[in-house]
C-alpha cells in the first residue's frame, strides 16, 4: 500500500475544534493541544483554518536551532525539541514559516505537533485527522485523495526566494503547481482569491 499522507483541505474546515480537543488526548502530550485552529476574522466570516506541523523536508526550525535539539525521524516526521538539549531560545518559534512551534514555559521546551508519532509509527492515524468530522484534516493515500477529491494535493511552498517542501500536503484547485506565500509579483501568477462575500446584509441588498 502507498504511504499514508497527511492532507489538509482548508475549504472543508467548519471550525468545530474536534481536532483541538482530540489532540490533547494524544498519549505523548496529554492535556496539551498542539494543533492550531485559526479563526480568520470572525466579524466578517465563520471561516477557520487548522494548522498542524507541515513537517518540512529540510526543517527550518531545526536549521535555526542553536542547540541541535530538533530532529527529524527517518520517515520524515519533525519531532518536538529534545528536552535535554532545548534551551528555550524560541529561534524555531520565530523562524517557522507556518507558525507551528510554541515554547511551553511549563515544561521549558519547544513543543509542537509530531503527527501523533506514537500512533502513526504503529500504523494508526493521527488523532486530529481521525476524528475530523469534515475531513479537512485527513490521513490517507494520495491515490485515495486523487480518487475522492476534486483538487490537487500540493506540498511545495515558495516563500520569497526559498522553496520549501513539506511532508504534509494541502488541497488546491486542480493543476495548481505550488503555493506562493509572499510573491504577488512572481512570474507564476497566484490564483486570485475568490472574492468572498460573507456579509449577509450585502446578499440582501436591493430587497
Amino acid at each position: 500500500m502507498s504511504e499514508l499522507r497527511f492532507v489538509i483541505d482548508y475549504s472543508r474546515c467548519i471550525g468545530c475544534q474536534a481536532c483541538v480537543q482530540a489532540c490533547e488526548e494524544c498519549d505523548t502530550h496529554r492535556g496539551r493541544s498542539m494543533i492550531h485552529l485559526e479563526t480568520i476574522k470572525r466579524t466578517d466570516s465563520v471561516q477557520t483554518a487548522p494548522q498542524v506541523c507541515m513537517h518540512c523536508e529540510d526543517p527550518i526550525c531545526a536549521r535555526v536551532c542553536p542547540a541541535d535539539a530538533i530532529k527529524k525521524t527517518a520517515d520524515g516526521v519533525v519531532q518536538s525539541s529534545l528536552k535535554p538539549r532545548c534551551i528555550g531560545c524560541s529561534n524555531c518559534v520565530l523562524a517557522c514559516p507556518f507558525g507551528v512551534p510554541k515554547y511551553d514555559g511549563y515544561v521549558d521546551q519547544m513543543m509542537k505537533c509530531d503527527m501523533c508519532y506514537d500512533r502513526t509509527s504503529v500504523g494508526k492515524r493521527p488523532m486530529c485527522a481521525t476524528v475530523c468530522p469534515s475531513q479537512a484534516l485527513s490521513f490517507t493515500t494520495l491515490e485515495e485523495i486523487d480518487r475522492t477529491r476534486h483538487g490537487t494535493a500540493v506540498n511545495t511552498w515558495q516563500f520569497g526566494g526559498e522553496v520549501v517542501r513539506t511532508k504534509v500536503f494541502v488541497m488546491l484547485p486542480l493543476n495548481h503547481p505550488a503555493i506562493h506565500v509572499d510573491r504577488p509579483d512572481s512570474r507564476t501568477p497566484t490564483t486570485p482569491a475568490r472574492r468572498s462575500n460573507d456579509d449577509v446584509a450585502a446578499l440582501l441588498e436591493g430587497m
Binding site: I14, Q17, V46, S134, A201
Partner: protein
Amino acid sequence: MAKLPLPLPDLIAQFGPHVNAAPPGGWQSVGEPDRIVKTHCCFCGQQCGIQLKVKDNKVAGFEPWEDFPFNRGKLCPKGVKRYLQNEHPDRLLTALERRDDVGFSPVGYDHALDRTVRELQRVQLAYGNDAVAVLGGASFTNERAYLLGKFARVALRTANIDYNGRLCMVSAGAASKKVFGVDRSANPWSDIPKADVILIAGSNVAECSPITTDYLWSARENGARIIVLDPRMTPIARTADLYIPVRSGGDIGVFNSMLYVLIERGWINREFIANHTTGWDAVERTIRSYPPERGAQIAGVPASMIVRAAELWGPARTSFLLHARGIEHHSKGVDNCSAALNLVVATGRIGREGCGYAMITGQGNGQGGREQGQKADQLPGARDIENPDHRRHIAQVWGVDESTIPRKGLTAVPLFEAIHDGRIKALISFCFNPAVSMPDGNFAREAFERLEFYANVDFFMSESSRYADIVLPTALMEEDEGTTTNVEGRVIHHRKVVDPPGEAKEDWKIVCELAARLGAGDKFRFTSPREIFDELRAASRGGVADYYGITWERIDREYGVFWPCPSEDHPGTPRLYEGYRFGHPDGKAHFQSVDWRPAAEEPDTDYPIILTTGRVVAHYLSGTQTRRIGGLVAQSPEPRCEMHPRLAESLGVADGDFVRVESRRGAVVVRALVVKTIRPDTVFVPYHWPHDRSANNMTTRAIDPVSNIPEYKICAVRVVKVSRPTDAMAEVPQQAGGLA
C-alpha cells in the same frame, strides 16, 4: 412544595455545574487501559461509534472506532470529551430529599422510592390518575423509552406522559407521517454523496451534526450543488453553491416559489405524480399564488435566489433534502416540512439511490425515543394510542385489559400549562431538564414551584432537579446497556462500559422498582435491558417501526440494523420507499397543500427584532452534561448574542459589549458577538445555558397545532446595551449561568 430550598448560588456551590477537565487521576496518570469498549457517543442523533478506555473500572479516555461505518472514527468535540462524565465530581451518588432552608439531604434509595410512590399515590387518590405526569427524554435508550411509556400507562395509569423530543423532532415526524405514512428519514446517509443537488433547510450541520459534514463535502467532490437556507451564514452555508439567508419563518416562501418555478419550467415528474401520489391538484392550485416575487417577500430574500434554487433542484438527476429544527421549530413547523417534502415528491426523486430526504434528528435517540411509546399520543412501534387495533395489540403484549390503557395525554407545553394552572399536581421526570429547555422559561419554572410533589431522575443535579422533592441518581449511557436508533433509522447497541457510581441506579431498574411499589410488579419483572428489548420487539411487531427481527447479536454483527425489520431473516430497510411503495394504506405519497402564515409573534414597534435560538457545537441540549466538561466549557463558556454590525451600530453596541435581550416574557444579559454572518433583522442566542443566560426566557409557548412543537425559532425582542451585571447570579461561574 417545590420551591428552591436554598438560594441558587448556594445550590450551585454544592452541586455544580462544576467543570471536570482531566481524566481520572490527572493527565499524567493514564497509561495503558485495562480494556477498551466499543459503544456510541451519547450526544446527538448521529450516534457516532466510539471506543471508551477503561482503567481501574473508570472511564479514562477514548479511542476512535474506525470500523463503524457511519462515522469511521470521526467525532465532534462533544464526542471526544464525553468520557469525562463518569468520574465527574458532580455525580449524584445517593438519593436526595429536599429540606427547606437546608438544601438536599442524602437518603437511602429505598426511602426515596417509597416516598415517591407514596406521594404519587396520594395525589392520584385525591385528584385522579391524570394529576400525575411523567416526562421522559429522547436521550433515553429504546428500552428505557419503552419501559417508561408502559410504566405511565400500566403502573400509574396516567394519560399524561410526554418527552423532550416534543421540543425537537415532532414537526419533522408529523410531516413525514402525513406525506409518506412513516416517521423516519427515508434514506441511509450513504445516499447523500450520490446526490446531484442537496437542499439543506434550517440545519447548522457544522455545529449540530458535524459528522454529516464529510458526507456533504463528499457529495461536493462528486460534483453536487449545495443549497442552504438559514438566517445565519453557517460554516456549511459559507461555501454552498447557493446560500439563501431566509428570514426565520419564511421558508414556505422559498419552497412554494421553488415549486412554482419547477411547474413553470416543466421540471416536475407528472408520471410519478399520477401513479404514486395523491393531492397534487390542490398543491398546484395553491402554488399558483406563489410566484417567486411573493415567495421572496415572505422569505425576505431576493427572488433571484429562489429562482436559482429551482434551477439547481429542478433538472437534477438525483437529489437529497436535509431538514432540521430551523424549519421545524415553528408554530407552522409541520407545514414548513410538508412544503419542503413537496419538492421531493413533485420531482419523484425518492426511493432510489441518491434520491430522498432526511430529517436530522437532534437528540441522542431522537429517532428511537419517539417510537417506543413515551409520546403522549403513541404506543410502542410508533402506534397510535387512539387506534383500537393498535391498543388491542399492545394490551395483549402487556397483559392488560385494553380499556385500562389511558387515551392520548397532554404534550409537553400544554402539560406544563396544566401544572401551572393546577390540573397536574405531581411529576416524575427522567432525562429532561425543562427548567432550561422549555420555552418561556420563567413560566416553566413557575410551574415547577406549583407542584405538590416532584421526583427528578438524573445523574447530575440539573437546573430542574433543584425543584425536586426527591432526586434519584441514575446511570450514564456508558453505565447501562441498551439500543438507540440513529438519524438514519439504524438500530445500534450501546454497551455497558462501567458500573454506575455510588448508589446511582440504571433508569430501567428505577422504573421497575417504582412499578413494583405501585403494585404492578408482575408487569415489570425485567432483570436486564435485553429482556426489555425482547418485549419491545414483540410490542413493535406489525407496527410501522417494526423491530421484531432485530436482535442485539444482529446489531453487533451487522453494525446496526435498519427498521422496519419484521423478521430475523429480514435484512432491515436502509432505504425506504423502494419501488415507490409508500407507508400509507393506499401505498401513495400524499402531497400536502401548504399556505404560509405568520409566526405567533412577529416583530413590532415595541419588540422590533427577531430572536432565533439554536445550538453551538460544544454543547448538547440544556447543557446538564456538556456544561460540566472542561474542554467544552472552555470552547463555549457562555452564550453570546449574535448580531449584524448594521444592527449593532443602530443600537450603539460594539463587539463584546453586554446587551439585554428582552421579549414580552423574559430577558437575558449576554455579551454581543457582532458579525456580518447574520441577517440584520435577526439576533441569535444559543439555548444551552440557564437562568439569566437562558435564551428560553424569551421564547414563546406558541406551538404547532399538529405536532405541538414550540416556536423556538422566532419571537420578537428588543436589544439594549447595558453594563456588566453585578447581581448574585452574574457572580456564579459561566457554566452555571453566571459570568464569573
